[in-house]
């Protein structure tokens, strides 16, 4: 029941917010925060009761907090039975991200204080988004997953399009269409999978992801059957399906060159939505690649590892270079996200335990740090409605406590040891360097990204925070740029502390995910290798 509570609690409160009279609009933000705090407590409970030794990943028995109910069962006559399950569960792959999501949602709830218009609509959509996010990370039925996945789009579209900045409509449509483009093709693969896989127990076609991961469950001669030699557009359907799913998720990550929705969406979105976008949404991309692409099509993961690694490296360097050239602070941070998420792809492409663990850790670390960065941008934007780097100078003298937080966030993000990003990047790189599937130069070039990270963050510090205080808005701005208030300190401190804790005690995360990662990588290499062998035999 735990997972269901996590998912439906926000829905319940959404209904509550919807029926409460407009006069109580000042309480909405507290209700919203209360939901997040309860969810955080639930996440803490799950952390304490999570059994580290169970690997999960492929085996239903070793998933935890499992809820499995038959949801839609239709007898379609000659077509067999349609079987859609309400199937939830978590393992080492998802628990970290689920906890991250509750954490980021709480921070975003605190950042939602800045919303001053149409609160009812905002908080209803926010809570709906919350529910969808929790659902995505716990769904184990592909159909259910897809519902939650698409359900996220709707509130995000309105949240950016209504409460966003000047070019909000352009940004929200771009974001919506980009993501939809990926998910439409994903739907085709889901249907293909549905007709290829049968539930071993009921014998009905199923959307169960775990059944899809077991080659024994594929119907002989079906499109995604490993032993089928049928080709689709001249290529193996399984590899094609991997590529389609990968692109769908990679748009979310995002990868260069499918990344341009991100800077626009981030820049135009209100602060809490930027936080959610960077903190959680991007992780769904990485999560999808690990759980679904690798899990269901391990052959594709091996076959495309070189390409994925290359995309990762290009994203790292390209994102960092774009950040270096950015003149808007929020844009700079958005591009730094592109760069940092490149390490996730590099780690995944390595197909080593270190690399994939590093990728997972990078997602957690980036989730915390990018939330912090966007929150920090929001602080000055709220005060003077400007975030051009060139318009600020000597902020340290003006806002000392704020600057200390910026210091922490910047240095943590540029990979200073002691903070989480260092461990994440080190592991991704070590994994990539040790990998048999990608060449060593990728790790070396990826490491250069860390250097560029130092360059753009430190240059920003130099331009905005050091020197004598001087602002474009003059006296007016000096009066408005007050140091962080208590609420902001309450929001910022936990992020700094988590980044530090994970950096010094990375085992807090690794202990949870380790057995899952070992299982995932070993099984992917083994069965993926076999599939590829079978495939090459079939094609010759």
């Amino acid at each position: 029941m735990t997972l269901s509570i996590l998912i439906f609690l926000p829905i319940l409160f959404m209904v509550l917010v919807a029926v409460l009279p407009q006069a109580l609009k000042n309480t909405f933000k507290y209700l919203n925060l209360a939901v997040s705090i309860i969810q955080l407590i639930i996440a803490g409970y799950m952390y304490l009761h999570f059994n580290h030794s169970l690997p999960g990943v492929f085996n239903e028995q070793s998933f935890q907090f499992v809820e499995k109910h038959s949801w839609i069962n239709l007898n379609l006559g000659t077509l067999g039975k349609l079987q859609i399950q309400y199937f939830l569960g978590i393992d080492g792959v998802s628990i970290g991200l689920l906890m991250l999501s509750t954490f980021v949602m709480a921070i975003a709830a605190l950042a939602s204080w800045e919303i001053k218009t149409n609160e009812k609509g905002y908080f209803c959509l926010f809570l709906l988004l919350n529910a969808a996010i929790m659902g995505v990370f716990s769904a184990l039925d592909f159909f259910l997953f897809y519902i939650f996945y698409e359900l996220m789009l709707l509130p995000l579209y309105f949240l950016i399009g209504i409460w966003g900045g000047a070019r909000r409509e352009y940004a929200s449509i771009k974001f919506f269409l980009y993501t939809l483009l990926g998910s439409v093709f994903m739907l085709l693969v889901i249907i293909g999978l549905y007709f290829s896989v049968k539930d071993p127990i009921t014998g009905a076609h199923t959307f169960d992801m775990l059944s899809m991961m077991n080659p024994a469950n594929y119907v002989q001669g079906s499109i995604f059957d490993i032993h089928s030699s049928a080709l689709l557009f001249g290529v193996s359907p399984r590899l094609l399906a991997f590529a389609v799913l990968f692109i769908a998720f990679a748009i979310k990550v995002p990868i260069v060159p499918l990344h341009t929705w991100l800077p626009d969406a981030h820049v135009e979105a209100p602060t809490p939505i930027s936080i959610i976008l960077a903190g959680v949404l991007l992780k769904i991309g990485g999560y999808g690649i690990i759980r679904i692409c690798m899990g269901i099509f391990p052959d594709g993961a091996i076959y495309f590892s070189w390409v994925i690694g290359l995309i990762g490296v290009v994203s790292i360097i390209y994102g960092a270079m774009s950040a270096l050239a950015a003149s808007d602070l929020k844009r700079l941070i958005a591009y730094s996200s592109v760069s940092h998420m490149g390490f996730v792809l590099l780690g995944i492409a390595s197909l080593t335990v270190e690399g994939v663990s590093g990728a997972m850790f990078q997602m957690i670390s980036h989730g915390v740090l990018s939330s912090m960065l966007f929150f920090l941008v929001g602080v000055i934007y709220n005060r003077v409605h400007d975030r051009e780097i060139a318009n600020f100078r000597g902020l340290y003298l003006q806002m000392p406590t704020y600057s200390v937080f910026v210091f922490i966030a910047f240095f943590a993000s540029l990979g200073l040891p002691g903070f989480s990003a260092f461990i994440a990047e080190a592991f991704s790189l070590i994994g990539a360097f040790n990998s048999n599937s990608i060449p060593r130069w990728m790790a070396v070039v990826g490491a250069v990204g860390i250097l560029l990270g130092a360059a753009y963050f430190l240059w920003t510090l130099q331009r905005m925070f050091f020197g004598k205080a001087r602002f474009k808005g003059g006296e007016d701005w000096s009066a408005k740029l007050s140091d962080v208030n208590l609420r902001e300190v309450i929001a910022l401190s936990p992020m700094a502390i988590v980044a530090l804790l994970l950096g010094i005690m990375p085992f807090l995360f690794f202990d949870m995910s380790n057995s899952a990662m070992v299982e995932l990588v070993n099984a992917t290499l083994k069965s993926g290798g076999q599939h590829l062998e079978t495939l090459s035999k079939l094609l010759n």
């Binding site: 270079m321 040891p417 002691g418 080190a426 360097f433 860390i450 250097l451 130092a454 690794f510 070992v518």
Partner: protein, 699 residues
């Protein structure tokens, strides 16, 4: 005297010695945290106390370790799948020596700072950051694995960043600390690549396991190079091979980390700029300790270096030593002279490591730490007093400019004396500590037998002579002759007073450590000093050991001393008597030296500019091409839908409407017949009937 092989104790329990070392490491961290969080108006006593206790604990460790016992404490830090990382302390002669050195010098500098930094707005923060620095530096020294060294290595860079930018409202300081961090990051990236190569080959990063201990060969020594392959067989018999060039690459990558930290060519450019920090910071971090970390690291990983790697190291060190010395000749800024001197001396140490004179390098590291720290503190004392004058009379001049000094020896007698001692030590004159260690390096260089060894030896000897010249140029310009500042201002007495006890006593302590007696009973030969004898060269299985030749041992010291004395006299004639001039300010060589061989210009115009250009190009590409395609696709769809819309309205709907129109027209036409007159209907009816009958007859 050969040192008996020292027993190593591996432990997972915290014994007294390890506890003391841990305490020495963590106390400064504690003081950093307390000062940063509680922001006491004066955090100085806390920092000084914790550092001093650290020093006492270090002394305790030292007496229990030096030539007696080594300890290695390690505890599991993180275990994920294949990577098992331990974190621990390694306590052998080298780290014990460094421990005492760092804590002692930091204590002295902190005491000095109480006066030097008095009245600063962020006084407490200065002590907090110095505590953080000391924690990180001790971490580098004590760390038992390369990854742990790397972690503290970066933290050292971070605290250096904070301290260079201590006066962050100055633009030059804000630029300098960024430059320092980024240049160091370049080295760090290479260092990390080196770590990855070693991890790939050996699956461990533990120093003892990799490089061996006094009584056990490490994995590196067990690996062999044959047939162009670098081969290593682990205990379970699994052979791992990498290309033989990877051995050299791994060594040079880790060395690149040292190049950045120890400000060697081509990454030396950050150190002169780092002088933007307070002088006390320069003395501790950018002269005595942090910059020596590169030498320490190179010494630690010494067994890793292949012959090619050692050759590169030697050339880089010697070139850096020479280049920096030529730059120091013409600088007018007091601190810049010392900064280039530091680079030059670090070059000596690196060269020593390259030729295999391992002990000499570390010996020089220790002696240099004392006398160079003292040189900076002395310079700080001069600058501090001139700054007072500047402040008192609201004058506008640069208190670091030697062209405005002169004749200060009477006004600053203690400062003069200690600076003289330190300079004599740096110049390498007998009876001073610098003589002992530098001589060993020169003897090593003249004994070295590899192609090109003569170049290295000559280069070092020339540099040694230049060193004596530039440092006495400084002494004569600052302390002798007439006060040139007085000439620029009338009516004001710009004479200065000696600094207070908090500054002079630490300087005097350092001066004692700049004399030979602290290191060796024999003032004329360093090979019998306790440091030299106590440090055991780790075995490098790829290279032969260096043997000092008798010729070098007997002649090099004499020639060096003669050259140094001659240079001191020349400097005296040129800068005190002013009877000799060399190059004018318009001479190309002078400008070349004064502008530090134009490295900054070169790097700015070639590297920095091209990176910025590339970044701007990518931004343009992102906006116009990548996003252009996206928006273009959107526009295309938009246009396409407009076409469809037109077709829809005009053709599809047009045909529908056309049919409707046609029906209406037909209806209109037919309506014409509906007149309502019976005769007409009858007539039409009869007409129709006739038509039918006629037609039925025809067909």
């Amino acid at each position: 005297m050969e040192v008996e092989s020292i027993k190593l104790i591996e432990t997972q329990h915290i014994t007294t010695v390890i506890g003391a070392a841990l305490g020495a490491l963590l106390l400064p961290l504690l003081s950093f945290l307390i000062i940063s969080f509680f922001k006491p108006r004066k955090g100085d006593w806390l920092a000084i106390c914790s550092t001093f206790i650290s020093f006492l604990l270090s002394l305790y460790c030292f007496t229990n370790i030096w030539n007696l016992q080594s300890y290695h404490y390690s505890a599991q830090w993180l275990n994920t799948g294949i990577i098992k990382l331990n974190a621990g302390l390694t306590l052998d002669n080298l780290s014990a020596l460094m421990l005492v050195l760092v804590t002692l010098i930091t204590t002295l500098v902190l005491i000095y700072s109480t006066e030097y930094m008095k009245g600063e707005k962020y006084y407490h923060r200065y002590f907090a950051h110095l505590s953080l620095f000391m924690f990180s530096m001790l971490g580098v020294v004590l760390a038992d694995s390369l990854l742990l060294i790397y972690i503290f290595w970066e933290l050292v860079g971070f605290s250096s960043y904070l301290l260079i930018g201590f006066w962050f409202d100055r633009d030059s300081a804000a630029a300098a600390n960024k430059k320092a961090f980024i240049v160091n990051r370049i080295g760090d990236i290479a260092f990390f690549v080196g770590i990855m190569i070693l991890f790939t080959q050996f699956r461990t990063l533990d120093l003892g396991a990799l490089f061996g201990t006094a009584d056990k060969a490490g994995l590196i020594q067990q690996s062999v190079v044959e047939n162009g392959l670098w081969k290593f067989t682990d205990i379970s018999g699994n052979a791992k091979t990498l290309n033989a060039s990877m051995l050299t690459v791994a060594g040079l990558c880790i060395f690149a980390g040292a190049v950045a930290k120890s400000a060697q060519f081509p990454l030396h450019v950050w150190l002169p700029d780092a002088m933007e920090g307070p002088t006390s910071v320069s003395s501790l971090i950018h002269a005595a300790t942090m910059v020596a970390a590169g030498v320490y690291l190179t010494a630690r990983v010494f067994p890793l270096f292949s012959p090619d790697a050692l050759t590169v190291i030697t050339y880089i060190g010697a070139f850096t030593a020479f280049m920096a010395a030529t730059i120091a000749l013409t600088q007018n800024d007091l601190k810049k002279v010392l900064a280039y001197s530091t680079i030059s001396q670090l070059g000596f140490m690196i060269t020593a490591l390259g030729i295999g004179a391992w002990q000499a390098a570390l010996f020089h590291l220790v002696t240099h730490a004392f006398f160079k720290c003292l040189l900076f503190l002395g310079a700080g004392s001069v600058i501090h007093q001139l700054h007072h004058v500047q402040h008192k009379y609201h004058l506008d001049f640069d208190p670091q400019d030697m062209r405005l000094m002169g004749g200060l020896r009477k006004q600053l007698p203690v400062t003069y004396m200690v600076l003289l001692v330190a300079s004599l030590s740096l110049a390498g004159l007998p009876l001073f500590s610098g003589f002992l260690s530098k001589d060993l390096i020169l003897i090593g260089a003249w004994s070295w037998e590899k192609p090109g060894s003569a170049i290295i030896a000559v280069l070092l000897s020339v540099t040694s002579a230049l060193t004596a010249f530039y440092i006495f140029r400084m002494i004569f310009k600052v302390f002798w002759g007439e006060n040139r500042l007085q000439k620029t201002v009338e009516n004001i007495d710009v004479s200065v007073h000696e600094s207070g006890k908090a500054m002079t006593i630490p300087m005097m302590v350092l001066a004692i450590f700049s004399l030979f007696a602290a290191f060796s009973i024999n003032p004329l030969h360093g090979a019998h000093s306790w440091i030299y004898e106590g440090l055991v060269v780790p075995l490098n299985s790829f290279n032969p050991k260096i043997q000092f030749t008798e010729f070098a041992e007997s002649w090099v010291p004499i020639i060096t001393v003669v050259l140094a004395v001659a240079m001191v006299l020349v400097a005296r004639i040129a800068y005190y008597k002013q009877k000799m001039t060399f190059l004018t300010e318009h001479n190309f060589l002078y400008k070349f030296s004064y502008n530090a061989w134009y490295f900054d210009k070169l790097y700015n115009s070639v590297i920095v500019r091209s990176v910025v250009l590339l970044a701007n190009f990518i931004r343009w590409f992102d906006i116009n091409i990548v996003d252009g395609i996206v928006n273009g696709a959107a526009t295309l769809v938009h246009q396409l839908s407009a076409v469809v819309d037109w077709i829809d309205r005009n053709i599809v709907d047009g045909s529908v409407n056309g049919i409707a129109w046609l029906a209406a027209r037909i209806g209109d036409f037919i309506r014409g017949f509906q007149t309502g007159r019976v005769q007409q209907y009858m007539a039409l009816g009869v007409f129709g009937l006739i038509l039918i009958i006629v037609l039925s007859y025809i067909f």
